[in-house]
Symmetry: C2
Subunit: 337 residues, 2 copies
């Protein structure tokens, strides 16, 4: 069976996305990356590569399948939207280009012409100005698959840890009210089946972090862990999911504790992202679970402040491309674990 | 000038405290530990050492100063409370012994007969049953110094990171309401002066973690960081304290970000302890700042489940003893930085 190439979206052309894509292509052999193409932006990519001292051979293609043969010799870029931009200076034209690239790459993955989607970082507020009406790229991809936003689960994956925030972009004061049995159940089930389907873990072990310090210490510091989290975990365990908790969150990310689970389900954004970023040395990946398509992204932003200065680390982009290829291969039955 | 020995409290005798104290003494030369004595528990310590395959030479003393000469050859233990206990099986007698040891060690430090206090872990709920009416050992020591509980600031210190939780043992839902300008100011001032006095950092750099994800993203995810935290930081900076923030908490603990500050002030327990424990490999220290006496503690609990099995790691106890000695020496003007 032919394995289609991966589709990579350009990200905001004034950010670090294009230079890191160029860098990843340049290291394709050492890093053993699967073939990929970029949706648009040939001139942007050439120019971004030059800021890192590289002359990037770019070849325009008109269909994803062409990328397979060409990838070894040049970076395949779909003919289409392009432009010029100054690194570090985001513009409306740049936002339009980023949106066009994301839209095309997503459509090709949904149509099965690309094996998986890797999205470079965008500036959400700028994309909103040109008509993007989703909280983030995750929800955009879910909508393109005709899935509800809640069906897509964001997982952060580093070399030493995987975490899932059960709530994401909300004020801390709103978190306790959002932690419901329905939310925990829905996300835990998606995570358990995705770790099996996409990551080849036969019986994934889920550990749930407590909302309150020391898991509330018998209710003296909040009752949510006792009243809501614990019974929901018990119900999920009764379904056959290997899930434990609520665990005191401060002890859940030590080197020793990390050996006891495959993914930590966290109650809020910072609980999931603090340990991941503290431990992941520039190579954290944001993976979308639960959708009919595989999508990954480097776990960092546009980093306008350092774009075009040969400072950005390509580790996360390389890890995102590799992970997308592996997850897609597992879904196609091409990887045995 | 004579440097008095450190006073070490026994901790719960059924926990890992005694065996780790014995282990620290056995490694005193390799670890270059300052002289210390234990307040009571000679039999407990001998017995605990045997669970780690060590024959511990213990010598009873009647005054702290005797420890200085004897420390090289035997572990000095103040004659007094003692007993026998089974590791892993906490008892009322054990709690009474732990409280007696803590009380005596604290009194000797307050009286200037010991240079600093190192407390081994206790089980708070069990101590409460024998009359201990403080939230923890930190508040007990503050009270012994006739200080208010809020004058003692808990700092967690690992080899790669120092953090201070501004709120500690409270439910997550109560955290946003407790973050006030007065709280931030009071603790920031104590931290800034303690890092100078006890840690020899001439101009300590304080970084404040935001309460909300992405520091609230211009108020879209909570206004506390804009309305309360940011102006308080500005006021403290105007006083001459090198303080920055509020910083998005998920990015504040990366290897790169950690280079930019000496201590991170965090809004709640898990925000401070998750990164510390994720990064500190069994050698985190809990230091009490702001009191007239120096007090440290290993950053772990009684660990009843592994007591007496030669499994507990002495790294944090050794680090706590070393740090107590260094901080006390700086206060006495015996260390130049």
């Amino acid at each position: 069976m032919e394995f289609p190439p991966l589709a990579v979206s350009l990200g905001d052309p004034a950010g670090v996305g294009p230079e890191l894509i160029a860098e990843a292509w340049a290291r394709r052999e050492a890093e053993e990356l699967p073939p990929f193409f970029v949706a648009g932006g040939a001139d942007i990519l050439r120019s971004a590569a030059r800021t890192r001292g590289r002359e990037l051979p770019v070849i325009e293609i008109f269909h994803p399948a062409e990328a397979l043969e060409l990838f070894g010799h040049a970076l395949p870029v779909l003919a289409g939207a392009d432009g010029l931009c100054t690194p570090g200076q985001p513009s409306r034209e740049g936002a339009e280009l980023a949106l066009a690239s994301l839209t095309e790459a997503t459509e090709l993955v949904c149509a099965g012409e690309a094996a998986a989607l890797v999205t470079a970082p965008i500036a959400k507020a700028r994309l909103a100005e040109v008509g993007f009406d989703h909280p983030g790229q995750t929800e955009f991809v879910a909508a393109a698959c005709s899935y509800a936003p809640g069906d897509a689960v964001m997982m952060l994956a580093g070399p030493q840890l995987r975490t899932v925030p059960l709530t994401v972009h909300v004020a801390l004061k709103d978190v306790p009210g959002l932690i419901t049995p329905a939310l925990i159940q829905r996300k835990a089930r998606i995570v358990a089946s995705a770790l099996y389907r996409d990551f080849g873990i036969a019986s994934p072990r889920l550990a749930v972090a407590a909302l309150n310090p020391h898991a509330g210490e018998d209710g003296r510091m909040g009752r949510e862990d006792i009243d809501i989290v614990a019974p929901t975990i018990a119900a999920l365990a009764a379904e056959g999911i290997a899930i434990t908790g609520p665990h005191a969150a401060d002890g859940l990310f030590t080197a020793h504790a990390r050996e006891s689970y495959d993914v930590a389900l966290c109650m809020y954004h910072d609980q999931a992202l603090i340990p991941l970023k503290a431990l992941a040395f520039d190579n954290g990946v944001n993976v979308t679970l639960g959708l009919p398509v595989v999508r990954t992204s480097p776990d960092h932003g546009t980093a306008f402040a350092i774009a075009g200065q040969n400072l950005a680390n390509p580790g996360a982009t390389i890890a995102a491309i590799r992970m997308a290829g592996e997850c897609a291969a597992r879904r196609l039955g091409l990887l045995d674990d």
